[in-house]
C-alpha cells in the first residue's frame, strides 16, 4: 500500500500538470500567426525534477530492501513444518520428510498461531522443467527449477482452503497444474497426518481391481504404499480418496471422472503425460472401484 500511495501520488501530480498544460497552453485563433517564447531549458528546474525523484527512489529502495531481507532471510523457528515440493509436468509431489508422508497435488499444512508459530517451510525442486508455486493468498511465488533447490515459507494465520496454480509455463498443460492448499486446525492436521501415514487400505471387494492395477502398467508410474506399486513418475495414489480433485485439480474426484481419466486422459487434460490405458469396460469398472477403496 505504501508503494501504491507513492506511485498513485506521482500519477495524480503529473497527470494534473499535464491536463493543466494541455488546457492552458492550447493554440487559439487569437495567437494564430505568432510563435510563443522559445525557451530552451532551465537548469534549476532540471535539478529539481531530478533530485525529488531521486529522493523518492531512495525511500522506496530502503523500504524494499528491508522487506526483501525480512522475507528471504527469515530464520526457521524450531516448530516449523518442512515439506519438500517436487514439480512435475503437470502435477505436484509433496513429501513431508519428518512425518514420513508422501502425497500429491493437495497440500495440507497447519495453521500458525502467533503465540506458538508453526510456519511451513517448503523446499522447491523440479523433476523436469521450470514450474512456480503460487498461492496468492498465502505467499508470493517462487519457482521450481531443475538442478536447483529453492525455499519458500508460508505462515497462515487462519484455516481454510486456498487455491493457486503453477505460474511458470511448463508445457502443454501448464494451465491445469492447479494447487489446492488446506490450512488445517492443529487437530485436523494431526488427524490428516495420521491417516496419510497408514499404508493403503485393503478392501477385499476391490480385489479384482487391484489385480488390474498390479498387472497393467500402472505400477510403473504410481505408488500405493503397502503393495507392489512403487513407481515415482506419477502421483502417489495411496490415499487418493482423501483428495477432492484428480489430475492436479483438473477434475473433481468422482467415480465418473476417475473412469474418464483412466480411459482417456486427453478428455480432461489433453497433453498430460498420463497414457490412455486401453482397458476393457469391466477392467475399467473394477479399477475404479479399487481406486475408490484407497481412502
Amino acid at each position: 500500500m505504501f508503494v501504491l500511495a507513492i506511485t498513485g501520488t506521482i500519477f495524480i501530480v503529473v497527470a494534473t500538470l499535464l491536463i493543466y498544460t494541455l488546457v492552458k497552453f492550447r493554440a487559439t485563433a487569437a495567437k494564430a500567426n505568432t510563435e510563443p517564447a522559445q525557451v530552451y531549458g532551465s537548469t534549476q528546474i532540471e535539478l529539481a525534477w531530478t533530485i525529488i525523484p531521486a529522493l523518492i527512489v531512495v525511500v522506496l529502495t530502503v523500504a524494499t530492501a528491508r522487506v526483501i531481507h525480512a522475507i528471504q532471510d527469515a530464520p526457521k523457528p524450531p516448530g516449523a513444518l518442512e515439506v519438500v515440493v517436487i514439480g512435475h509436468q503437470f502435477w505436484w509431489e509433496y513429501r513431508y520428510p519428518t512425518l514420513g508422508i508422501v502425497t500429491a497435488n493437495e497440500l495440507h499444512i497447519p495453521v500458525s498461531e502467533p503465540s506458538g508459530p508453526r510456519p511451513t517451510f517448503l523446499q522447491l525442486m523440479s523433476a523436469d522443467t521450470d514450474h512456480s508455486f503460487w498461492i496468492p493468498q498465502l505467499a508470493g511465488k517462487t519457482d521450481l527449477i531443475p538442478n536447483r533447490i529453492n525455499e519458500l515459507w508460508m505462515d497462515p494465520d487462519r484455516p481454510g482452503v486456498f487455491f493457486g496454480q503453477c505460474a511458470q509455463y511448463c508445457g502443454t498443460q501448464h494451465a491445469k497444474m492447479l494447487l489446492r492448499v488446506s490450512v488445517d486446525d492443529p487437530d485436523d492436521f494431526d488427524a490428516w497426518v495420521q491417516a496419510q501415514r497408514q499404508a493403503a487400505a485393503q478392501d477385499e471387494s476391490a480385489a479384482d481391481g487391484r489385480r488390474v492395477f498390479e498387472t497393467t502398467a500402472c505400477i510403473n508410474c504410481h505408488t500405493v504404499r503397502g503393495t507392489a506399486a512403487n513407481g515415482r513418475f506419477g502421483p502417489d495414489l495411496t490415499h487418493l480418496m482423501s483428495r477432492a480433485t484428480i489430475a492436479s485439480g483438473a477434475a473433481e474426484n468422482t467415480a465418473e471422472n476417475l473412469r474418464l481419466w483412466i480411459e482417456n486422459p486427453d478428455a480432461i487434460k489433453p497433453g498430460s503425460l498420463m497414457p490412455a490405458m486401453k482397458l476393457s469396460d469391466s477392467e475399467l469398472d473394477a479399477l475404479v472401484r479399487y481406486m475408490q477403496s484407497l481412502r
Binding site: 487559439t28 511465488k141 505460474a167 489433453p270
Partner: protein
C-alpha cells in the same frame, strides 16, 4: 538544373513495368526504399501478431473455453510474442530510423548501403522462417509445429527431451538470423550518425531523433548479441549433444534466464528509445517551441542506456536469487525510473508555455505521455521485489508491458506515421479518419489493458489456455477481449487511412507542419539523392533559423 533532373526521372518512372519496379525494390540499396520495406514488412507481421492475439482473447473470453486446443493456444502466445518483438517492433523502428536519420543529418544515404539491404533481407528471411514452422516444424518425430515454448524459450523446456521435433529450432534460428540483421542495421546507424553528418552539425546540434537512434543502436550491439550467444549454445545442446542448459548433466536452467534477460531487458529499452525519438520531434513542433532541456534529454537517454543494462534480473525475482541480488536489482530498476521520469518532465516543459495544436500526431503523443507514465509507475511497483513475488508471471505484468509497448511505443509509432507520412508520400493523411482511429484505439486500449491489471492482482497467471470459473476472473477477461476487438476495428480504420490518403490525401508540400529539421527542407517525397547540395547548419533547428532570421537559434544555443 534540378528541375531537369526531376523531369527526367519522372519520365523514366512512367516507363517502368511492374517487373522492373519489383526488381528495383528487391535490389534497392537506397535507405528510403529499405526503410519502407522494413515498415511494410513490419506492418504485415503486426497484423499477423494481432490475429494471434485475437485468437488468444477469443479463447480467454470465458472459462473452460475450447475454441482452440491447448497445443494451439501455446503456439499462439509464443508466436504472438516472438512476432511482435522481433518481426513487428524491431523492423518498424529500424525502418523509421533508416528512412529519417540520413535526411535529418543532411546525408545522402546510410554509411553502408549494401549492408543495409542485406540486414533487411536477413530480417525478412527470419520472419518467413519462423512462420514456415507451421508447415515444417514436425521434424523427424512427427511432433511440433510452430514453436510453443513461450517467446523466452526457457530451458530446459527447449531441450530435445521436452521439445521434440523442430519447432524450437525454428524459433532459435529465425530469431538468430534476424538478430544478425538487426546488428547490421545498428552498426550502420552508428557509422552513419558518427561519420556522415553535414558540415556544422556537431553532435550537440543534431536532432534528438539522431541521438536517440545512436543510443539505441549502441545498446543493440551489446544486448542483441547475448541472445545470439545463448541461441548458439541452445543449438549446440540440441544438435551436438551439448549440456549448456542440460539440467540432467549439471547444466543450469537459470543460466539461460540470465543470458536471455541480459538481452531481454535492454531490448525493451531498445524498443522504447525510438518512441522517445518520435516524441522528441513531434511534441516541439506541435507546441511551437524547441525541446525543453536538449542536453539533459541526451544525458538522460545515455543514462538510461547504461543503467538499463544492469536491471535484468528483475525478470527473475521469483527464481530464488539471494536477498542481496534481489535488492541490487530492485534498486537499479527503480534508479532507471529517474532519467525516464526526467524525459516525461522535459516533454511537459516543452508543452508548457507553448501553443499546442491538437493535430493527430500530437494526440497520439499526448496519449503516450499519460500511458507511459502509468506504465512506468506499475513498473516501479513491480521493482519492489516482494510486490513482484505476487505480480510476476501474472496478468498484472502482461498488462504492464502491453501498456508500455502498445500504450507507449505503438501510440508513438502512430504519431510518427501521421507526422512523416506526408514527407514519404507527398500527401497528408486524413485528419478525420486519424481522429477516429485515435479515439477508437484509446477506447479499445484502455478497455483491454486497464482492466487486465485486475485479474493479475486476483491471482491469474499468464500463459494459461483456460482458467477455472469462480476465481473472479470471468467477466474481467470478457471485457479485456471486447477491448481487443475494438482495437481491431481501430487498426482497420488506420490501414484504410494509409491506403486512401495515398491517392486522395491533400498535397503536403515540403513542410506541412512548419517544422524545423532538415527533412522538411526537401520535397515530399524526397528525391533519390535527398539533397541537391549538402546543407550547412549552424544550430539545432536549421529551418527555424531560415524562417526566423531575426531570431535564430544559433544566437542562443
Amino acid at each position: 538544373m534540378s528541375t531537369e533532373v526531376m523531369a527526367i526521372s519522372s519520365a523514366q518512372q512512367a516507363e517502368r513495368t511492374w517487373r522492373e519496379a519489383l526488381h528495383e525494390w528487391v535490389t534497392t540499396v537506397d535507405h528510403k526504399r529499405i526503410g519502407l520495406l522494413y515498415i511494410g514488412f513490419a506492418l504485415v507481421f503486426l497484423v499477423i501478431g494481432g490475429i494471434e492475439a485475437v485468437i488468444i482473447r477469443i479463447q480467454l473470453m470465458a472459462p473452460h473455453s475450447d475454441v482452440v486446443s491447448p497445443q494451439v493456444f501455446n503456439r499462439m502466445f509464443t508466436m504472438h510474442g516472438t512476432t511482435m518483438i522481433f518481426f513487428a517492433a524491431m523492423p518498424i523502428l529500424f525502418g523509421f530510423g533508416n528512412y529519417l536519420v540520413p535526411l535529418m543529418i543532411g546525408a545522402r544515404d546510410m554509411a553502408f548501403p549494401r549492408l543495409n539491404a542485406f540486414s533487411f533481407w536477413l530480417n525478412a528471411f527470419g520472419g518467413l522462417l519462423l512462420y514456415f514452422s507451421f508447415l515444417g516444424g514436425s521434424g523427424l518425430y512427427g511432433a511440433g509445429s510452430a514453436p510453443d515454448v513461450g517467446w523466452w524459450a526457457y530451458a530446459p523446456l527447449t531441450a530435445r527431451a521436452f521439445s521434440p521435433g523442430s519447432s524450437s529450432d525454428y524459433w532459435t534460428i529465425a530469431v538468430l538470423v534476424s538478430g544478425f540483421g538487426s546488428i547490421g542495421t545498428a552498426i550502420n546507424l552508428i557509422a552513419t550518425i558518427l561519420c556522415m553528418r553535414c558540415p556544422g552539425m556537431s553532435l550537440g546540434r543534431m536532432p534528438l531523433f539522431a541521438w536517440l537512434y545512436l543510443t539505441m543502436s549502441g545498446m543493440a550491439l551489446l544486448a542483441l548479441t547475448p541472445l545470439s550467444a545463448a541461441q548458439l549454445m541452445l543449438l549446440v545442446d540440441r544438435y551436438l549433444g551439448g549440456h549448456f542448459f542440460d539440467t540432467q548433466a549439471g547444466g543450469s536452467a537459470t543460466l539461460w534466464m540470465h543470458f536471455f534477460w541480459i538481452f531481454g531487458h535492454p531490448e525493451v529499452y531498445i524498443l522504447i528509445i525510438p518512441a522517445f525519438a518520435f516524441m522528441s520531434e513531434i511534441i516541439p513542433v506541435f507546441s511551437r517551441k524547441p525541446i525543453f532541456g536538449y542536453p539533459v534529454m541526451v544525458a538522460a537517454t545515455v543514462c538510461i542506456a547504461f543503467v538499463s543494462m544492469s536491471v535484468w534480473a528483475h525478470h527473475m525475482f521469483t527464481i530464488g536469487l539471494s536477498s542481496y541480488a534481489n535488492s541490487f536489482f530492485a534498486i537499479t530498476t527503480m534508479v532507471v525510473g529517474i532519467p525516464t521520469g526526467i524525459k516525461i518532465f522535459n516533454w511537459l516543459g516543452t508543452m508548457w508555455g507553448g501553443q499546442i495544436q491538437f493535430k493527430t500526431p500530437m494526440l497520439f503523443c499526448i496519449a503516450f505521455l499519460f500511458q507511459f507514465l502509468i506504465a512506468g509507475l506499475t513498473g516501479i511497483m513491480m521493482a519492489a521485489a516482494p510486490f513482484d513475488w505476487q505480480l510476476s508471471l501474472s496478468y498484472f505484468v502482461v498488462a504492464h508491458f502491453h501498456y508500455v509497448i502498445v500504450g507507449g511505443i505503438l501510440f508513438a509509432l502512430f504519431g510518427a506515421f501521421y507526422y512523416w507520412y506526408p514527407k514519404v508520400t507527398g500527401r497528408l493523411m486524413s485528419e478525420r479518419l486519424g481522429k477516429l482511429h485515435f479515439w477508437l484505439f484509446v477506447l479499445g486500449f484502455h478497455l483491454t489493458f486497464d482492466v487486465m491489471h485486475i485479474p493479475g492482482l486476483l491471482g491469474m497467471p499468464r500463459r494459461i489456455y483456460t482458467y477455472e470459473p469462480g476465481r473472479g476472473w470471468d467477466s474481467l477477461n470478457l471485457i479485456v477481449s471486447i477491448g481487443a476487438f475494438v482495437q481491431v476495428i481501430s487498426i482497420a480504420v488506420f490501414v484504410a487511412n494509409l491506403l486512401i490518403s495515398y491517392r486522395k490525401g491533400a498535397k503536403a508540400g515540403n513542410d506541412p507542419w512548419d517544422a524545423w529539421t532538415l527533412e522538411w527542407s526537401i520535397s515530399s517525397p524526397p528525391p533519390a539523392y535527398n539533397f541537391a547540395s549538402i546543407p550547412v547548419v549552424e544550430s539545432r533547428r536549421p529551418l527555424w533559423d531560415l524562417k526566423h532570421p531575426e531570431d535564430p537559434d544559433s544566437r542562443y544555443e
